[in-house]
Structure formats: C-alpha cells, structure tokens
C-alpha cells in the first residue's frame, strides 16, 4: 500500500463574521490516490470550491484553515506563500470555470503557454518551449497552433480558451490537476468535446484529477470516485458507479433523485425542500437532519462521522435502518 498522493485530514475552514464564526468546511477527511479522477458534487454553498481553493492555497485573507492537507507527505497548510507559489503550476494546477478570467487578456496565448513551460522546466530553451506549447495545442484538438499562439485570449471562443487552459495543465504535468466546473460556461456540443478530450488525455496525464461538477452524468462518465459534499461536510465517498447507482446517504439519495431522468411525465419533479444550512449555523446534530426524510432523534445529537458501509463511506447514523 503506497501512501496516497493527497491526504486531507480534519480540514476545517472558518471565518469571523458579524454574525459569528462561519464554518465553511467542517472537518473534511479525504484522500486522492495517484492517477485517479475524483469527482466532487454538491449544491452551491456546500464547500466544493472552498475545498479546492484551500488545496491550491488560494484562500482569501481572513479565512482560517485548520487540519492538514498533505501532498506527498508535505503539509500544504504549513507552507509559506512563496513555497506555495512555487508549488502551483508545478505540482498542482487548476482549470477554472471561466477560462477568460484565468488567461491574461493582454498577452498572446503563445506567450502565456511558453511562460508556463519555462517556469516549470527552467532549463528548456525558448525554441523547445515554443515547440512543446504548439504540440500541446495540437493534443487538445486546436488545429493551426501557430495561428492560435499568436491570438489573444479574446480572439478565441470559450471552448478554445478552455482547451488552451487544458494545454497549459498538460505542459505543467502537475501531480494534481483541479478542474472546477470546467464545462459549465460551454455549449452542449463543446462541453461534449471537452469531456471527451479529458477522457482521452487521461493516459497522457500522469497525475490525479479532482473534478468539480454539477452534472452527475458527466461525473459518472469521467470519474473513478465521487465525493458528495453538503454544508461543509463530506457526507459520502465511494466508487462513482456505486455511489451514483446506489447512494447510501439520504442527501446523496435526494440529490440524485432530483436528476431528471426517464420518470413518467405525470409525476411532479423531485426537489429537496428547505434550504442549505448557513455557514454561521452550528447545529449539534447531523447537518442534513432538518431536510432529511429519515431523520430521527439520534440525528439531532451529533454529526455522524464518515464510516464504512457496504464498500462505500457515508456520514449517517441510520445507514443500517434505512438501507
């Protein structure tokens, strides 16, 4: 058993606000193995983006992270900002939802790609860097790379920009690539192209991928494991096929139940009544209990930890009763 690439233990993220302490992450335990693709799903405000921002060391001032985030045994939370800066683009990289704001609008695409190569591999000559950049553009499916290298980001379509971001990630060859809803801003046929590209690049890419998405169908196609988040907690974790086909946690069940599938037309659409917990709320019991169909007295006492059950992990006190 080798050590996992990324190991997150009891990660808490808090902030002081006018209304008291806001808990954004409430104790996350998660490991990512080498070469695997982990999907993260959950509603807005569940902490998905905060989790990956913490891993990337991109937290806004005022946010306080406790616990540990170990990459290859090194705790990222204890690294200073300059060491963290050196890690970004080398060991960890990120593809954002909006590729336009991630690319610098006043530099040509080629310049930005070459900069990435020369930062990652300082010994590489300019010519070699240009060649690598152009090869990467071909790999992500952009024809005419010479022309694209001369373009400014604003001259590219959304799909092309996201391809440039993926090319950049390939050039870095990071150990961990984080993709935060990389296809949300794209049209359906372009989204299909990008997902197809990510699937094919799996073999090109030696590292692990953390893939955040709202689209459960896409997660099912692309990921090996899936983590379900709710209110700053990880409530379920397991192999993607198991979790999405047979979710254990009541929240995962409800969320998957909301997916519009082949239900008969006369049945009203499913939804989860109530609202997501506020970060300043600190209920003593299970975070999902107020909206849960299966909540019982036991659920009001303490937030249950993630525990193994039928090959998956779920944070629910009543797994035995409800399955």
């Amino acid at each position: 058993m080798t050590e996992p690439l990324l190991s997150i233990q009891n990660l808490r993220l808090t902030a002081q606000t006018d209304r008291g302490t806001a808990s954004i992450l409430r104790g996350i335990d998660l490991t990512v193995e080498r070469g695997r693709i982990l999907g993260i799903v959950g509603e807005s405000g569940s902490g998905k983006s905060s989790l990956v921002s913490t891993i990337m060391g991109l937290l806004s001032p005022g946010l306080n992270a406790e616990g540990s985030v170990k990459l290859d045994g090194v705790d990222l939370l204890t690294l200073g900002s300059s060491k963290m800066q050196a890690l970004r683009g080398n060991k960890i990289a990120m593809i954002f939802q909006d590729p336009m704001t991630a690319l610098n609008p006043v530099f040509r695409v080629g310049t930005q790609l070459v900069d990435v190569v020369r930062n990652r591999y300082p010994g590489v000559s300019r010519e070699e860097a240009v060649k690598r950049a152009s090869d990467a553009l071909v790999k992500v499916g952009l024809s005419d790379p010479e022309r694209r290298m001369k373009d400014y980001p604003g001259q590219l379509s959304g799909g092309m920009r996201q391809r440039v971001m993926i090319a950049m990630a390939l050039l870095c060859q990071p150990d961990i690539l984080i993709a935060d809803e990389p296809t949300t801003a794209l049209d359906a046929t372009i989204e299909a192209q990008i997902i197809d590209l990510l699937r094919r690049l799996r073999n090109e890419f030696s590292g692990s991928i953390i893939f955040i998405s709202h689209n459960l169908g896409t997660v099912l196609q692309l990921c090996d494991e899936v983590a379900v988040m709710y209110g700053g907690h990880l409530v379920e974790l397991g192999a993607v096929r198991d979790v999405l086909a047979q979710p254990l946690h009541p929240y995962s069940r409800a969320l998957i139940g909301c997916e519009i599938d082949d239900q008969p037309l006369d049945v009203p659409l499913a939804f989860i009544p109530g609202k997501v917990p506020e970060t300043v709320d600190n209920p003593p019991g299970c975070i999902f209990a107020p909206r849960c169909n299966y909540a019982a007295e036991v659920c009001t006492r303490v937030m249950p930890p993630l525990r193994a059950f039928e090959g998956q992990l779920a944070a629910c006190a009543r797994l035995e009763d409800i399955t």
């Binding site: 509603e43 192209q193 699937r199 169908g217 519009i260 659409l269 939804f271």
Partner: protein, 323 residues
C-alpha cells in the same frame, strides 16, 4: 387569424448591424396553451426569439404576431395592453429587480403602471407568495437581500400578476441547483395549466425540456432546424444536429456509458454563416449537396418539421435499446 393561435412568426428575421443574422427567416405558429421548448447553442437565436416575442427587439424582416396582432403595431397603439398579454422571465432574474426598491414595491409597480386594483393585487400577491413558498417578510427586503432562487420566484409573481396569456421564460433554471429547480418547474407547470398559459421556454438543459414541454424547437445559427413533438424528437430526432445534442445529454440511468457524438470544430459565426445548410461544416453525415443548397423546413412522415436534405441519416447511438 385562425382562433387558438397565440404566437405566430412569419419569416421573421433580426439582423444586427446589417451583418449579424441573429434570427433568419423564422416561421412558426404556437397554439394557445401550448408548452414549447426552444433549444440550441449560443448564437442560435434562442434569446433573440424570446425578445422578439415580447417586443424587446423588432423584426428587421417578416412579422411577429401575438394573439393575432402584429407586435410592431401593438407596441405603437397600446404598449401596456400588449405587455399585459405577454410576459417574460429573464435569464438573470436578479438583474431585473431594481436595487433601490423593495420587493413589495417592485410588485406593486404593476398597480401604478397598468392600473390594476390595489387591494385585489395585494391579495393576489399574498396568494402567490404562499404558492411559491416565499415568506411575506420578503416584501420588505431589497433585491440584494434575497437569494437567486427567490429572485426567480419574485420574477414569476411579477409576470403572473398581469394575468398574461403568453409567458416566455429564458433559461428559467440556469444557475439553479438541481435540488431546487424541480420545485420551480413544478410551479411553472401548475400555473401554466391553471391559467392556460402559452408557455415558451428556452433552455440548454435537454432533460428539463423533455420533462416540461410538449413540443420542441431546435435552433442552429438563427434558423429552426427541427420543430417536433417533444416525445418524437427525443425518440427519433430527424436532424443530425438534434441527434448530436441529444447524444451529449448523459442520463444517469445510462450508467456512464458515453454515446456522445463528438462534433468537430466550433459553432460558426452568424455574421458569416456557412453556405448551403448552415450545419454542414460540422455535420458528421454531410454530403456534397449540403454545402451548396440550403434545405427548406419540410414535414416528415413522423410529423416533425426538419431542415435537412437527409433527415434521419444520423441515428441516435443506443436508441435501439429503447423499449
């Protein structure tokens, strides 16, 4: 005009700056009480179509008629009466709410502008608040104090207060979590039935279109490429573009199998649309004639209108498994 026709477009075109053909010769007829979905990618003309219907954009060619009256004339003769007939839910619901007026004030604008009875309207607002599960206290709040989901429901109330006969919704669930989109769609459908609304809904979410609409219009680069009963379209799409869109729409029940047809290339610009069939540059089954002659919208035996020289030539992958 024939009775029962609610919306009618006759060869309607919208050309911006003399070059951008946002909408190009669109003809359609929607019966009163019909629920119609409009799908297509960015630049396909979906939003322009909506704006044309509600009179926010005027046709540069052809004609748009609502309840037998030309939009152009209606806006000149009695603008307010026209607006009472057709209302729109905007994609960005928060942006439609003036930031300095309370929600209650925004709702009562209808009284001032359209001369509705104040007491009756107040009573109606309270009924609608209850139906839409909004707290009465929301009336005293300002737009920045409410959530995106609440802003959408406020938009629904503002539209319904005028008792329109046509409701146009531009991406009513975009940006909403799946956990709440079902609730909103259920309510919209309830109101549609109760008020016998003609309901035109734009969405890029094909699952939503499939569940909510009776008829679907597929658009590509400003043209209608297919217009068919929703059930027929989802089972036997006639146009290769419709087939492609449907194939990129993974259902969880498909178990993660990817049958997506991956198109090559980007969506062309509608300032320089391709010759012949607009889709031929990306069409997997294009023939030489497709780049030369533009196909006309033609009725197939299954009752679908399709703009393709070779309808049904691209089969939906995995469709044979349908029972």
């Amino acid at each position: 005009m024939t009775t029962g026709t609610s919306v009618r477009l006759d060869n309607a075109s919208v050309v911006f700056l003399n070059v951008i053909r946002a909408l190009d010769g669109v003809s359609l007829e929607i019966k009163a009480g019909e629920t119609v979905g409009v799908v297509g990618e960015s630049g396909s003309g979906k939003s322009t179509l909506c704006r044309l219907l509600v009179g926010l954009t005027l046709p540069t060619g052809g004609d748009a008629q609502i309840m037998g009256q030309s939009v152009k004339t209606a806006l000149k003769t009695d603008r307010k009466a026209f607006r009472r007939q057709i209302q729109m839910l905007m994609q960005d619901a928060v942006a439609t709410l003036s930031p300095r007026i309370t929600i209650g004030g925004l709702m009562m604008e209808a009284v001032a502008i359209h001369g509705l009875d104040r007491q009756e309207t107040e009573a109606r607002i309270h009924t609608l608040l209850e139906r839409l599960r909004l707290p009465v206290s929301i009336l005293d709040r300002y737009p920045h104090e409410i959530s995106g989901g609440q802003a959408r429901r406020v938009g629904v109330i503002r539209a319904l207060l005028l008792r329109p006969s046509v409701l146009v919704a531009d991406e009513p669930t975009a940006g909403l979590d799946v956990s709440v989109q079902g609730e909103l769609l259920n309510l919209l459908l309830e109101f549609q039935r109760e008020m016998n609304l003609t309901f035109v809904m734009v969405s890029h979410n094909l699952h939503v279109i499939k569940r909510v609409t009776q008829r679907t219009i597929v658009m590509y680069l400003g043209q209608i490429v297919e217009d068919a009963p929703t059930a027929t379209l989802f089972k036997h799409p006639a146009h290769p573009y419709s087939t492609t869109l449907l194939s990129t729409n993974p259902l969880l029940s498909a178990g993660g199998a990817s049958n997506a047809i991956i198109l090559q290339g980007e969506v062309p610009s509608n300032a320089k649309p391709p010759s012949g069939c607009r889709f031929h540059t990306r069409c997997p089954v294009a023939q030489p004639t497709c780049s030369k002659t533009m196909p006309e919208l033609t009725r197939t035996e299954a009752g679908s209108l399709v703009r393709c020289h070779f309808p049904y030539s691209l089969a939906l992958p995995g469709a044979h498994q349908d029972t």
